[in-house]
């Protein structure tokens, strides 16, 4: 299967393997947020959250934009889409196999 060269699946799945980073992505689902606000729900220091943000940025799962003195973080759907495509490929394979199995059992 051809993997998109724009996004690195190793970096994406590594970034997604961590519960803090998944929680950060979840808070960005509806709209972008200032980076300084991301630490709030975790009682975690901004320093620790910033490190997780860097991992997400490196995987290109999020975009950072600067407006005035604030940096805002938003989701990059394309990177998530790349991971989704990879999973979809295997889902399709398994669905076909299960369908074959079902047909076999019905005979």
């Amino acid at each position: 299967m051809v993997e998109s060269s724009a996004y690195d699946l190793n970096l994406i799945f590594h970034a997604l393997s961590d519960p803090t980073r998944r929680a950060i992505l979840k808070t960005l689902t509806r709209h972008e947020r200032p980076i300084t606000s991301l630490a709030k729900p975790f009682e975690m220091s901004l320093a620790a959250v910033s490190k997780h943000v860097k991992v997400l940025e490196r995987a290109r799962l999020v975009h950072r934009t600067r407006r005035g003195s604030y940096s805002y973080l938003s989701l990059n759907g394309k990177a998530m889409g790349t991971a989704g495509q990879w999973l979809d490929h295997y889902r399709a394979v398994w669905e076909e196999r299960l369908e074959n199995l079902a047909q076999l059992l019905e005979k």
Binding site: E43, S45, A48
Partner: protein, 146 residues
Amino acid sequence: MMRDDELCVSKWIRAKREAVFAAFTEPELLRKWFCPRDLQVISAEADVRVGGAFRIRMNKGSEVHTVCGNYREVIPGQRLVFSHQWQELDAVTTRVTVEFSDCDGGTLVSITQEGFDTRQSKQSHETGWLSVLENLCEVMSPGGAR
């Protein structure tokens, strides 16, 4: 870009924050989990106050490793900062920050470690912590991984 001299990992544990903090600070509890999964803790000492020392010895067969350091910051139930050094290996001293937060009815443990001298050392510590945190998860809530 993420710097090569720091790592950050986290793990959700199905247990109260105070209990997870205790697991990090009480020697008899540390003895149950504070090592990678393929090792075993032989002894654990922890004098948890600023300036206090900790020392944990672990083994894999005849191979013994000792990790030691001093506490730099202790905020019960919230935050623990300590220096971290492997005694038998000629490794640099790094700085570890552990933060505990309430999350989805459990506790989110976040570990950052800074000051690595090589990328390889950072990577092996990242793998190591993930394994150590698996142990913690197992001890705190058997079968409770998410």
